[in-house]
Symmetry: none
Subunit: 205 residues, 4 copies
């Protein structure tokens, strides 16, 4: 409805963005929508509307809805995983790495809300599921390596235990979100559980 030269109309930056900026903006909007209403809330139309652009424009940046969601997944997990890896790398022990990783997860959730939990947990449309599986494999392998190295756990058992530990991280976030424990308590509990389990698995037959 506005006709001219508002640099940014209506709260929605509807103008003169570079291709990359506009793409990011789409992802920001999609992130907000997932956080508010889950994946179903992300429709090409809702994203366009919230972004203040026309219905068809999304397709100039993403092949289809699946790709938009996949791009969102990549961006958000990247923003979680890079700091997490960095924080873990700064630690010597498995225990330190676990604690550091959980810390970054909490930080991220604090900063961006339930988005990341949803991304990691939900049964979602195809393109996301594939990527999630791939990401999981990578992270599980890393943790398994640490467990095997530090506690002398056999390869396959280390793999399984890493998978089991990682699977409950979203629940830890949920517990926090629903007030079932403080950040510190939950970090402590989770870290102790992981290390105790790893130690035990490495200890005997």
């Amino acid at each position: 409805m506005a006709i001219a030269d508002d640099p940014i109309a209506d709260g929605a930056p509807a103008q003169r963005l570079t291709r990359a900026q506009r793409r990011e903006h789409f992802l920001d909007v999609a992130a907000a929508l997932v956080a508010e209403g889950g994946f179903e809330a992300v429709t090409m139309e809702s994203v366009a509307a919230r972004a203040g652009v026309s219905k068809g424009l999304g397709y100039a940046y993403f092949d289809n809805r699946g790709e938009l969601l996949a791009a969102l997944f990549e961006r958000e997990t990247g923003q979680l995983d890079r700091p997490a890896t960095r924080a873990a790398d700064a630690q010597e022990t498995f225990e330190g790495k676990v604690r550091a990783t959980v810390g970054v997860v909490f930080d991220t959730v604090a900063a961006k809300g339930p988005l990341i939990a949803r991304l990691l947990r939900a049964e979602a449309e195809g393109p996301i599921n594939e990527r999630r599986t791939k990401r999981q494999r990578v992270i599980e392998r890393r943790w398994a390596q640490l467990i095997a190295d530090e506690y002398g756990v056999s390869e396959p058992t280390a793999r399984a235990s890493a998978a089991i530990m990682l699977a409950s991280i979203p629940r830890v976030i949920e517990l926090w979100a629903s007030g079932k424990g403080s950040r510190e308590e939950l970090t402590e509990t989770y870290t102790r559980m992981c290390t105790a389990a790893a130690r035990d698995l490495g200890s005997a037959i």
Copy 2:
């Protein structure tokens, strides 16, 4: 479209079943569809088509799609939880109970496929989420009690640790389903992880 070897020819009126039989049949079909394609694959239409009946018939048995899904959830979790509780009750120790529970889970998956893992894990439509949350609360409380009693873990920590342990059961099933370990190995690993964690949490401050 199929021409041969359908038990029921394509335009012919379906078998006339009793109310209870038809209801079970619908749930069987829904179960198969969830196993294959997740919740989204369950539409009143897809169920009817697969069941070989007309589109509207489902509504004579379930008020709406949500109720169908809810009924499926109730049936399947009931078939898991009743034997699991029975098996756990027959054991004295937390360790025994965990092992027995996992055993029943494996039995169930062996008999009915990975459906149950999906039911327990996925972020799903409203009616299922509510029921899952409720069920979780009940089971978590039970495990928490055991952990607190047997290992002297404080109430809140026991609650959190139970939640964390239970959250990874679907992943255990997945590991098995994808060949990442035998039933015995996975049972052993998971059980040791749980008991080691509980013991550790109870050991000191």
Copy 3:
């Protein structure tokens, strides 16, 4: 669900009725449903359910939904029109007849609720519309005759004026139902309007 020898189960007379009784019962139920929720509320299923019989039974008494509604219309308008005619016949003047007729209408509405208003007014499914038109023609002709005879109004004008007068009777009922006047006031107003109009139309060119 009950298996034997309740003479009347569940508030619903579900048993041992003669054909005619059962037919009447269906109409009673349909009447109640129209009064509560309009024509749309009358489905073959809702009628059967309320009557405490099985879904298909209605078709043993009425060819189809339209016929059920039509039979209801006939019965109810008959129960209005016969007393109305009798009451009108007992009066000498047009004014008396109008007053008597309106009195019977009020009595009927008082006894049977908004059913009759709905039957007379609503744009309804085909079979009812036809009958209503026919009924209207009959009554309009009668009133027109009276107007012509008593006030010397020409045939066509008498016909038109009768139609115009009769068309507002449902509104009179509505006014009463919504508390916009007492029975007596509304009867008086309506009667005076009709007689004044008739007198005027007969008076000159």
Copy 4:
């Protein structure tokens, strides 16, 4: 299915109209359908089919079926009421105003068919009923004021009589449409009935 002389071929994409044009087109189609078959004949699907567009397009213009019907009601009654008010305002007396109003009604029906009668009369779905009730209240109040002022009729009686008079206008249209009188005769008859009634109600106790 039609093969010839459709302006638009059967599977071809429809004319691309502006938003306003398409909206009007939808309303035109809906109007035609109401005129032919009443409200029930207006479904989002029937409108789309008649308009030669795809099933879902209507929802880009109206939130749902109710809104479409409501918009139709607003448009049509607006096109009747604005000229009617103007014509009535140009007259000094109640008689003149009644005659002028009826004249505009006839003009409108002549131009657009009996649609308006249906809109004003029928018991319809919620959104229309509300609006009709509101409109009626406004017009009844206006007429009541005139009757009270010019003939000295008491407030409540004036209200009731106005309601009664207005309720028969659709019937006047029907009489005309079914050839039961000329425009002039019906206008004259209706106007005399109204004025005679008002005069009488004002004359005594």
